[in-house]
């Protein structure tokens, strides 16, 4: 049930947590206690700039882990907030680190996971660098970033939700997307 490689650590390192929508998992600059596995629900990782703007760094849902990087840092570097009722497993930092030095398979798998995350962030950067709202929306949908609500998606790709609604409408008009329901869009298959 816990995804590889974290299934390799003893269950004594697990701690279950239930959160209501809006509750905080951890805050930026708090001492890092461990990483998390989402049984169900939705967690948003956010960072705040001085001006009060905030960026959604990542959104984790069923079956995903987050805050892996905090294993190797003293503190958390973003806020983690439940945006839906959520059940999490917290994996103890010290236990994971011990496992890391003892078990090469584990450390290899974890490093691979990190490499994957790095790639993911690169793709996000790539999308944010696209200037045209329409192109950005299309690229992000192609990457599979539109799974939740349009508003959340808009925040993800750093556009206002109005701009996204408009962009979606024109993309459908151009025949690049298909509207499959209220707030539901899919890439139209090439013919």
């Amino acid at each position: 049930m816990i995804p590889a490689p974290f299934d390799l650590v003893a269950p004594s390192a697990y701690r279950h947590r239930h959160l209501e929508s809006g509750e905080t998992v951890f805050r930026q600059d708090e001492k890092a206690r461990g990483l998390f596995y989402v049984l169900d629900g939705q967690i948003e990782l956010r960072r705040y700039t001085q001006n009060g703007q905030n960026v959604v760094i990542h959104r984790a849902s069923n079956g995903q882990t987050f805050a892996e990087a905090s294993l190797f840092a003293q503190n958390y570097h973003c806020d983690a907030i439940a945006i839906a009722p959520s059940r999490l497993v917290e994996l103890d930092r010290a236990v994971i680190l011990k496992k890391f030095v003892e078990d090469a398979d584990f450390s290899l798998a974890l490093a691979k996971r990190f490499a994957g995350q790095i790639r993911g962030y690169r793709r996000k950067l790539e999308i944010l660098a696209i200037r045209s709202a329409e192109d950005r929306i299309f690229a992000a949908i192609e990457e599979g970033q539109l799974n939740g609500s349009i508003k959340a998606f808009a925040a993800d790709i750093a556009l206002t939700h109005e701009a996204v609604y408009r962009g979606l409408a024109t993309l459908v008009e151009k025949g690049l997307l298909e509207k499959t329901g209220r707030g539901k869009y899919v890439v139209r298959p090439e013919k």
Copy 2:
């Protein structure tokens, strides 16, 4: 001379490379051979989108490494191009991987490095999500992203160089930045 933890691997894994400005270190989708350490020069990591737009993912210069993540991937996921005459050390992928499973200190240090990179990308995402050109420029300078040319900096933060020149001018006008020379700007200390 090679930074930790790569100083721990045998020098037989090193391969020196000299590149002229414009030459290619590797291309996207090529088989990953290893990671690189920059003795001197400048390397740009770029990704190309379908529309032909390209994003500068990272810019590596003296004393930095790049393509670490390719250790755990089959192929390179971006282009690496020298934008100045550069001397590199290529570190063999297989040797590093072997070291990784054998030496826990090494694997710990590498994982820490990865975690640092993840943090770096997060910060970059944060900056790209700032809508106002002026705020974005200021935030990026505060993060120390303005080290090379203004044009390179502009590409980094996904603005046109014109917008950056104008933003810099108004920031100086407002007293937030100080112009220390042609193309040189520093954050003005708070009083």
